[in-house]
């Protein structure tokens, strides 16, 4: 990993901005839910913020991303508009999907957010298809498939990785290994120590990195993206991380040993990166506080707008089922 490209100071600050934006937004979603002001199934990405933040600084708007129900961090890092995000969570007509999809199906093609699926394992075959489209287009665009450690045990993982490798498609498979597939621990799901070992079975490079380390994650992602853009085919990145909250908000996660959770939280990558930015002179306490305050204000505005927005008209049930409205 010594050969990995490293993020420069500006990129590191950008990664922090994205990650703290995701963290603060996550905390607000949970706060609104606890206050009874938001009713939604919500899968918190707290603890996994660095992965998409360090990835997306190397992606363009028209690069494709597919993600899963626990994918809010992937979307926000890619530039998903916050107002449309909050309105969609509230089921409002002004949401990105007109309130028809909700948090598990957030979509925003203008920023390359093509598919969010609520089905474990289904991001991979579709991202592979987007990679096929990108290869046919020949414009150097890449396709990213996000999924968890649980999804690596589904048959679609095998089919998609095999096809992407066989057809040499520009796909980056990012397995965010947060150690728990819903309620089941990683050790109870596979005998492997590292899921990246599976890449060899498909003839593609596979690497395991500390997904909470911005340098390692940035480097691994950048190499995989460059490889894909150059027409050299897909890469599997296993990004090690930890899920700080339960599977769903409301799940107290008694199946995670307390010591394991506390140890993971003690290594929360956000305060570590924040301290580093100050220690290395990349930013200052005052500047970071200003960034955080600006994010808080942006969230305030998005939440307020979502509360004020109208619900979709019931006639929407007849629209978007097909191109033609249902009679």
């Amino acid at each position: 990993m010594s050969n990995y490209p490293r993020p420069d100071a500006a990129t590191l600050l950008e990664i922090y901005k994205k990650a703290t934006f995701i963290k603060q937004n996550d905390e607000r979603v949970i706060k609104q839910m606890m206050a009874g002001k938001l009713v939604t199934p919500y899968y918190s990405p707290r603890g996994q913020e660095i992965i998409p933040s360090a990835l997306s600084v190397s992606l363009d708007d028209d690069d494709y991303v597919c993600t899963i129900y626990r994918g809010v961090h992937d979307m926000l890092a890619k530039g998903f508009p916050l107002g449309e995000f909050w309105a969609e969570l509230a089921g409002k007509a002004t949401g990105s999907c007109k309130g028809k999809g909700g948090p598990m199906h957030l979509t925003h093609p203008a920023k390359g957010m093509m598919v969010t699926t609520g089905i474990v394992g289904s991001s991979m075959p579709i991202a592979t298809g987007l990679g096929w489209a990108a290869k046919l287009d020949g414009k150097g665009r890449v396709s990213v498939a996000n999924f968890g450690d649980g999804a690596a045990n589904i048959g679609a993982f095998h089919e998609a990785l095999n096809l992407a490798a066989l057809w040499k498609l520009p796909v980056i498979f990012i397995c965010q290994n947060n150690r728990y597939a819903e309620h089941t621990s990683f050790a109870d799901s596979t005998l492997l120590t590292h899921l990246s070992a599976r890449a060899a079975a498909y003839g593609m490079p596979g690497v395991t990195v500390d997904g909470n380390d911005p340098d390692a994650m940035y480097g691994a992602a950048k190499l995989a993206i460059e490889r894909a853009r150059a027409g050299e085919g897909p890469t599997l990145i296993e990004a090690l991380t930890f899920r700080f909250n339960g599977h769903l908000i409301g799940d107290a996660a008694p199946y995670i040993p307390k010591a394991e959770l506390e140890a993971a939280k003690a290594l929360d990558p956000l305060p570590i990166l924040r301290a580093r930015l100050i220690a290395e002179g990349i930013s200052t306490e005052a500047a970071l506080a200003a960034i955080e305050a600006a994010i808080e204000a942006e969230i305030d505005a998005a939440v307020a707008a979502s509360l004020a927005a109208p619900f979709p008209d019931v006639t929407e049930l007849k629209r978007d089922v097909f191109a033609e409205e249902i009679a």
């Binding site: 999809g101 199906h105 089905i119 579709i126 991202a127 298809g129 679609a156």
Partner: protein
């Protein structure tokens, strides 16, 4: 005047794919053995396409149904129009998540921001003793799913025309091909056939038969028999199962006052139940007899020839049911 060709269904679908690929560079074909190196499909439906249009656009795949449909969905969201082949309709059970949870729903769940203009070709049908996992009709699964269109032609002309329309449609279309009638020739006018429009295959005054795919052939055979007995069947070929042509079917049954819905799928919870129900709701008081349904026996498709023959609705059963309706 355009020349009218005599083609069988295999040739008609092949011509439609050729014409569609020539007309639009975004049309792709993928599936197991679709390329010429693998003989252009097990029945040769895609023969010649990879040679003419190249293996970038006509891709043979591993035996990976989830990846095939996933690749088609992804490519379609990326701006292409893939025609995916799932060799047999029973194999559609393998990529059901991709079809039902994704292809069918992405347009709605994204609020219309994305759509999935794919065609999934698949073949099926009893008659060759292929048993319980190679010959089922499962169209009701797909017709029951909002967001999918389902078509099932019975003639080469409709096969050509529906394939052209299916490829140009902006939503996912399941295209059902019947194995035993693949080799039946007929005129092909090379015109698009609109999705959602039934066709009166035979006019008659007494009993309407609503059918699709091979059951249209059986209904026409029954009509021939009954004509000698002075009973005139009207055969309505649905062509599109979903969205089905309510107005067209209702008009025919309003005229005859009697209806039998026939399909090769098992009768229980089949599409015949939906059609019979609508006919009863809309034409109550005008019907001269209860709407009848004919479908396969409620069992897996059997292997042994006498069992397979008994399992599948056929002309004799259609004729007998029509006679019974006339004397009711």
């Amino acid at each position: 005047m355009t020349e009218i060709k005599q083609l069988n269904l295999i040739q008609a679908i092949n011509l439609a794919l050729n014409d569609a690929m020539a007309a639009d560079p975004k049309v792709l074909v993928l599936g197991e053995e679709v390329g010429d190196k693998e003989e252009g499909g097990v029945m040769g439906v895609t023969k010649g396409l990879s040679t003419r249009f190249g293996t970038d656009r006509v891709r043979s795949t591993p035996i990976s149904e989830q990846a095939i449909i996933g690749a088609a969905i992804g490519a379609s969201i990326g701006g292409y129009r893939p025609v995916a082949e799932i060799m047999l309709m029973n194999f559609m059970a393998v990529p059901m998540d991709m079809i039902v949870n994704h292809a069918a729903k992405l347009r709605f769940m994204s609020g219309g921001q994305t759509n999935v203009p794919i065609v999934i070709r698949t073949m099926t049908g009893t008659g060759f003793s292929t048993g319980g996992q190679h010959s089922d009709y499962t169209e009701a699964w797909f017709a029951h799913t909002a967001g999918l269109k389902v078509v099932a032609p019975s003639t080469p002309d409709d096969a050509y025309g529906l394939m052209r329309s299916a490829i140009e449609d902006n939503d996912p279309v399941i295209f059902i091909e019947n194995l035993p009638i693949y080799w039946t020739p007929g005129p092909v006018t090379c015109q698009h056939v609109p999705i959602g429009k039934a066709k009166v295959a035979l006019e008659g005054a007494d009993v309407t038969i609503v059918a699709h795919s091979r059951m249209v052939v059986e209904a026409l055979a029954a009509a021939k028999t009954l004509a000698k007995e002075g009973i005139a069947l009207e055969v309505v070929d649905l062509r599109t199962i979903s969205p089905w042509d309510r107005a067209g079917v209702l008009a025919s049954v309003a005229k005859t006052g009697r209806a039998i819905v026939v399909h090769e799928a098992v009768k229980q919870f089949g599409i015949g139940a939906e059609i019979a129900s609508v006919l009863s709701e809309e034409l109550w008081g005008q019907l001269k007899a209860p709407v009848r349904r004919l479908g396969a026996a409620f069992s897996p498709v059997p292997f042994s020839k006498p069992l397979e023959t008994a399992y599948t609705p056929a002309a004799a059963e259609i004729a007998a049911t029509a006679r019974a309706l006339m004397s009711a």
